[in-house]
């Protein structure tokens, strides 16, 4: 592998890791607080992509500036998180928190199936491709390789900003502190007056919005097609399980590990590229069943 090919694999891996991180961090945040493994998380990713691709397409077709794609990504993600994620938590998940884990997974899987059909109903089965945001940022030359600035600079910067922003939100705002308090001890938090129901709702909406934001950013780089949510949820599970459930910084490092592992596999052993994330997960969990950054007993029962 020469230097250029190495750099290409490296850049691909970074860009891919940034997207995977955004989805995985939402998943791990929701699991950390609600203790529900949310299979429907992949749907928020897909719906964020669909909503962005269709609205940006309409905006550009109507002759407006392609730069509007960027605010549109944020608006679409917040709307998907709030308008779809909010009711899913409030009307459905709230009823199953005390149930067995396997039932919780089945319910979120049912939500995933329903939302898959909603996507087909709203957006059809034709692929959407809307790359205005990618085009408008142009390309950069690094080590003799021409790469899109969107993937090489914007995606990693956004991922880092989300990571730092999430850390500041959790440590330094009251809402964030309450999320951490509920994560650690739901009953002790209630005993000091924390409205746990509201914390659950906020967490779920934030987590779902992050997944939708991942989809919104991905929509500029890939065709938006039915089934993309399923692919992403499986990969996010691999990231979250490898990192240790509920670990935010761990999800970032693991996303990088899996993103890079997969992109190098594409160049070195293409037949293994789909398998590599799971091989990494398997290797890690064999040695550390609690995940790279997980603790064996993070929560008292």
């Amino acid at each position: 592998m020469n230097l250029q090919l190495f750099a290409l694999a490296f850049f691909d891996g970074i860009a891919y890791a940034a997207l995977v991180f955004l989805v995985a961090v939402g998943l791990t945040l929701i699991f950390g607080v609600l203790r529900v493994l949310n299979v429907a998380h992949g749907s928020f990713y897909a719906m964020g992509a669909y909503a962005t691709a269709s609205t940006v397409g309409a905006i550009v077709a109507a002759g407006y500036s392609p730069w509007l794609a960027f605010p549109m990504m944020i608006i679409a993600s917040a709307l998907i998180g709030g308008l779809i994620g909010g009711p899913v938590e409030k009307l459905l998940l709230r009823r199953i928190y005390d149930m067995e884990e396997v039932l919780q997974i089945l319910v979120t899987f049912a939500v995933f199936m329903i939302l898959e059909d909603v996507q087909r109903l709203v957006w059809g089965v034709q692929p959407y491709f809307e790359s205005s945001a990618l085009m408008v940022l142009g390309t950069v030359d690094v080590l003799g390789i021409t790469y899109t600035a969107y993937q090489l600079i914007l995606l990693p910067v956004v991922a880092i900003l989300v990571l730092v922003g999430l850390r500041i939100f959790l440590r330094h705002t009251l809402s964030g502190k309450l999320i951490l308090a509920v994560t650690e001890d739901r009953e002790a938090a209630t005993a000091i007056g924390v409205n746990v129901d509201r914390v659950y709702l906020v967490t779920f909406v934030v987590g779902a919005s992050l997944a939708a934001f991942g989809g919104a950013l991905a929509s500029a780089t890939t065709s938006v097609i039915p089934g993309m949510g399923a692919d992403m949820i499986v990969l996010s599970f691999a990231v979250v399980a490898t990192a240790g459930l509920g670990r935010i910084e761990g999800a970032a490092i693991t996303a990088l590990l899996i993103g890079l592992g997969r992109s190098f596999a594409v160049y070195l052993a293409p037949e293994l590229d789909v398998l590599v994330p799971y091989l990494i997960m398997l290797a890690v969990l064999l040695v550390r069943p609690e995940g790279l950054f997980g603790m064996a007993h993070t929560r008292k029962i």
Partner: protein, 236 residues
């Protein structure tokens, strides 16, 4: 100020409390005595709204049976559970301040209440900046008491506060409770304990829980006081 009317609590098919009725007056210091598993913790958890129960609980003459648990601390109820349950992601002072932030108290009121906590428990001021996860079990109990004091302006409930405390720390804890009594004579205190001798010095009334039933008890003069083994029993 606090009344149970025919309260029955069933946990996993077992009736932990059976038709319990009692009345506690403002400024009482009540020792809730009973063996392990008798229903002491369940009584406190019912007041906090953490159990499925039948019957009625009244606080300051209002029926709070259906009041959501998160709204109860706002009535002035502070609760320190048996296992200290601090939030390890934050410092000691952040833990103490959190109930005030949740209740959105003014900065002035928060400072006043923090001052009250540090007057009663001055040692907390010294460890204010330490991560709550790094304090010892005994210190953690002090922090949990401080956090309960922050919100408990009317009723403070302490579940087995002396459990697992080294003798010196237990004496210090008891001293803090006496300071609280002097400082805030109107606050009502409920303290659970399996060893009645420990509470004889400052409780003025005992309720005994036995197999889910509650009756008036006495803080027997002949029960040994492990904190002051050599001294004769006195009333506060």
């Amino acid at each position: 100020m606090l009344e149970f009317r025919d309260v029955t609590v069933t946990l996993g098919g077992v009736r932990v409390l059976r038709d319990v009725s009692f009345l506690i007056n403002t400024s009482d210091t009540v020792a809730l005595i009973g063996a392990n598993g008798a229903g002491k913790t369940t009584t406190l958890r019912s007041i906090m709204g953490f159990t499925h129960m039948t019957g009625e609980i009244r606080f300051l003459r209002e029926d709070i049976t259906k009041l959501p648990p998160a709204k109860r601390p706002g009535l002035g109820i502070g609760y320190a559970a048996e296992d200290r349950r601090l939030f390890s992601a934050f410092t000691v002072e952040e833990n103490i301040l959190m109930p005030a932030q949740v209740a959105r108290l003014t900065a002035q009121e928060t400072t006043r209440r923090l001052g009250r906590v540090y007057t009663i428990l001055p040692e907390l001021k010294e460890m204010a900046g330490r991560p709550a996860g790094s304090v010892s079990g005994g210190q953690g109990k002090m922090v949990a008491l401080g956090r309960a004091l922050m919100i408990g302006t009317r009723l403070i409930m302490l579940d087995e506060p002396f459990q697992g405390l080294a003798p010196a720390l237990a004496r210090r804890y008891a001293e803090a409770l006496r300071t609280l009594r002097d400082h805030d004579p109107d606050v009502t205190l409920i303290i659970t304990e399996s060893n009645p001798g420990l509470l004889r010095r400052f409780a003025d009334r005992a309720l005994v829980v036995e197999r889910g039933e509650m009756r008036e008890g006495s803080l027997a003069e002949d029960a040994p006081d492990p904190l002051h083994p050599a001294s004769p029993a006195t009333t506060p």
